[in-house]
């Protein structure tokens, strides 16, 4: 009797969040796929099934290809620039630098800010006339390099990515610092007794042992690249001439600005499938690392 009552409580306890979770998270995933097979415009209550027409359009739309290209560029920069900067800072700050905690706080401060705030700061940095960047370039005699960074299709995308990377540096630094604390100093000392210089112990001891942290940093970078929306929306809305469209931004514009909900859903499904591959790869890597350490 008591046992049964207990089980009922367990079920009750867990099922309420589970049901809500199913309605809000799991069901919409299936619905996205459902809508992607229709020509729904998001406003009217009726729509027609159009089969895989939306997917056919996805793969022939040059604007979709453009968004994919931009997202790939974003991802490549994301897994290199802030990752390497974060790793460098983590390695430096581990070396008993005076004021290390102040530097750490400074570098991870941007993580506490929203991307909308960071976007505003950087719009202002990129301003053609009063912007920090152009003023600084002029000050060092590089007037020829000044431009309207966000209004120029040549530089809009990379400027937005740079602003985003500014925030991400702190994130990867913190994760690498956590990874470094788990490496016992005896290991690097042993390598040095064996005659390894700093670069050798970095290359053969520290970097391999940072593998779990690196996997987390890279996985976060890729996932966050796929999601990149807030800062694009704030800074360029994907423009000028789609030059800074990411997949997420493109999907938003097609669905919520042009009301092509069916087409937008098809883009959403493609986005989801890409994310699924990344997540699967991530968990495989994590598992491999766990086995390595077991």
């Amino acid at each position: 009797m008591i046992k049964r009552q207990r089980r009922l409580w367990t079920i009750g306890f867990i099922s309420i969040p589970l049901v809500v979770y199913t309605i809000i998270v799991v069901a919409p995933l299936f619905y996205s796929f459902f809508y992607s097979l229709t020509d729904w415009n998001g406003l009217s209550s009726d729509f027609n099934f159009v089969g895989f027409k939306n997917f056919a359009k996805v793969f022939s739309d040059p604007l979709f290809a453009n968004a994919i290209k931009n997202t790939v560029i974003w991802t490549v920069v994301a897994i290199t620039a802030p990752t390497l900067a974060g790793l460098t800072l983590a390695l430096i700050l581990r070396e008993g630098i005076r004021g290390a905690n102040i530097y750490k706080s400074l570098f991870y401060l941007p993580i506490a800010l929203s991307l909308a705030v960071i976007g505003q700061i950087w719009i202002w940095i990129y301003q053609p006339r009063w912007g920090l960047l152009n003023v600084a370039l002029e000050a060092i005699g590089l007037e020829s390099a000044t431009r309207a960074w966000l209004a120029d299709p040549q530089t809009a995308l990379i400027s937005v990515i740079a602003a985003w990377s500014w925030q991400q540096v702190g994130l990867s630094m913190v994760i690498f610092l956590a990874g470094l604390t788990s490496i016992s100093p005896e290991l690097t000392e042993a390598a040095q007794i064996d005659g390894a210089n700093y670069w050798q112990s970095l290359r053969y001891v520290i970097i391999p042992l940072l593998r779990p942290a690196s996997i987390v940093v890279v996985a976060l970078a890729v996932i966050n690249s796929l999601k990149s929306f807030d800062i694009v929306f704030t800074m360029t809305k994907g423009g000028p001439f789609h030059s800074s469209d990411t997949l997420a931004m493109f999907m938003y514009n097609e669905s919520f600005k042009k009301y092509y909900m069916g087409y937008g859903s098809a883009i959403a499904v493609v986005l989801f499938l890409i994310a699924l591959v990344v997540i699967a790869l991530y968990f495989r890597q994590v598992k491999a690392v766990e086995q390595l350490y077991d």
């Binding site: 207990r6 409580w9 367990t10 306890f13 867990i14 969040p17 589970l18 809500v20 979770y21 809000i24 998270v25 799991v26 919409p28 995933l29 619905y31 996205s32 459902f34 809508y35 900067a85 800072l89 008993g96 630098i97 530097y103 706080s105 400074l106 570098f107 991870y108 941007p110 993580i111 506490a112 800010l113 929203s114 909308a116 705030v117 505003q120 700061i121 202002w124 009063w130 920090l132 003023v135 913190v174 690097t188 779990p212 942290a213 987390v216 976060l220 996932i223 999601k227 929306f229 807030d230 704030t234 997420a248 999907m251 938003y252 959403a268 499904v269 986005l271 989801f272 994310a275 997540i279």
Partner: protein, 286 residues
């Protein structure tokens, strides 16, 4: 390595690199800060860009807060209030739910518990864009479309994975014997939670609440799609309105940006260590 005391070119290089990075982070913050205390006329004067304001004024903050109706600028005071109305309940509810789930999943193991947990974690990783369209539909269907409560519900639900994860890791360190003992004394599932686990949970709650408050305050995508009406929008979304007029008054935009960043900045400065700990619990252990 720290044993090397003599002059070392590598050490010099390291410090130079550090200073360079520090500039990259400090200079924008500094210029932003001084600009927000200047009147518009002084912001336009490039020769004074690096200098502190001649006579510091709060007029930019006033304009950003109350708005400038004759220029069509809406103030942020309403929006910061919206952000609070949204963030506080969503943070409290999702933290409590996460704590209960973490308790059940770590201490009251039942068949399928690990599977449920894995499915929950999955929700943390999916790009929200891929469920955005049906989600707005679901919210509208249950009568919460375009309301702050609709957005609160979304944040509560999408907060469950991370809060559950952090509490599950946290409760894993509570000795199971304590729970067994309470059970033998006849305590039910809820009594064990309320009498044994909840009083131990404060450090866990600090981490989770900071984490949730910051991420909900800073969230953008759900807010911009669910809340279309400007007077309901949270401050992160409304910030654009300040920059929306023809001539951008940068002093005003910077003041507004500082206002929007203030709550999370204060939390970060006071409780930053816990914040980072929460971040690591969420990312590295996940």
């Amino acid at each position: 390595m720290s044993a090397r005391r003599s002059f070392d070119p590598m050490r010099l290089g390291i410090y130079l690199l550090l200073i360079l990075f520090a500039m990259l982070f400090l200079v924008p913050v500094y210029v932003m800060l001084v600009s927000s205390f200047k009147p518009f006329a002084e912001v336009q004067d490039l020769s004074r860009m690096w200098l502190p304001p001649k006579a510091p004024t709060l007029e930019s903050f006033q304009a950003a807060w109350f708005g400038v109706p004759e220029k069509g600028l809406r103030g942020l005071s309403l929006n910061i209030f919206n952000s609070l109305k949204l963030t506080i309940p969503a943070t409290i509810i999702s933290s409590l739910l996460g704590s209960m789930n973490g308790y059940i999943l770590s201490k009251w193991k039942f068949r399928g518990a690990d599977l449920i947990f894995a499915l929950m974690l999955f929700g943390m990783f999916i790009p929200y864009q891929s469920i955005l369209i049906p989600l707005t539909r679901v919210i509208a269907t249950i009568g919460l479309g375009g309301t702050i409560w609709g957005l609160i519900l979304v944040h509560v639900v999408y907060g469950i994975p991370i809060t559950t994860l952090i509490f599950r890791n946290y409760y894993a360190e509570v000795p199971t014997e304590m729970i067994e003992a309470a059970r033998i004394d006849g305590a039910g599932i809820f009594k064990v939670y309320w009498k044994v686990l909840f009083p131990l949970s404060m450090p866990g709650f600090v981490v989770v609440i900071i984490w949730q408050f910051t991420s909900i305050w800073n969230e953008f995508l759900f807010a911009v799609t669910i809340l279309q009406r400007p007077e309901l929008q949270p401050i992160t979304v409304a910030l654009r309105n300040l920059a929306g007029s023809q001539i951008k008054e940068w002093n005003l935009v910077m003041a507004g940006t500082l206002i929007a960043a203030m709550p999370t900045l204060i939390i970060y400065i006071i409780l930053g260590r816990y914040f980072i700990r929460g971040l690591l619990a969420g990312s590295v252990k996940g």
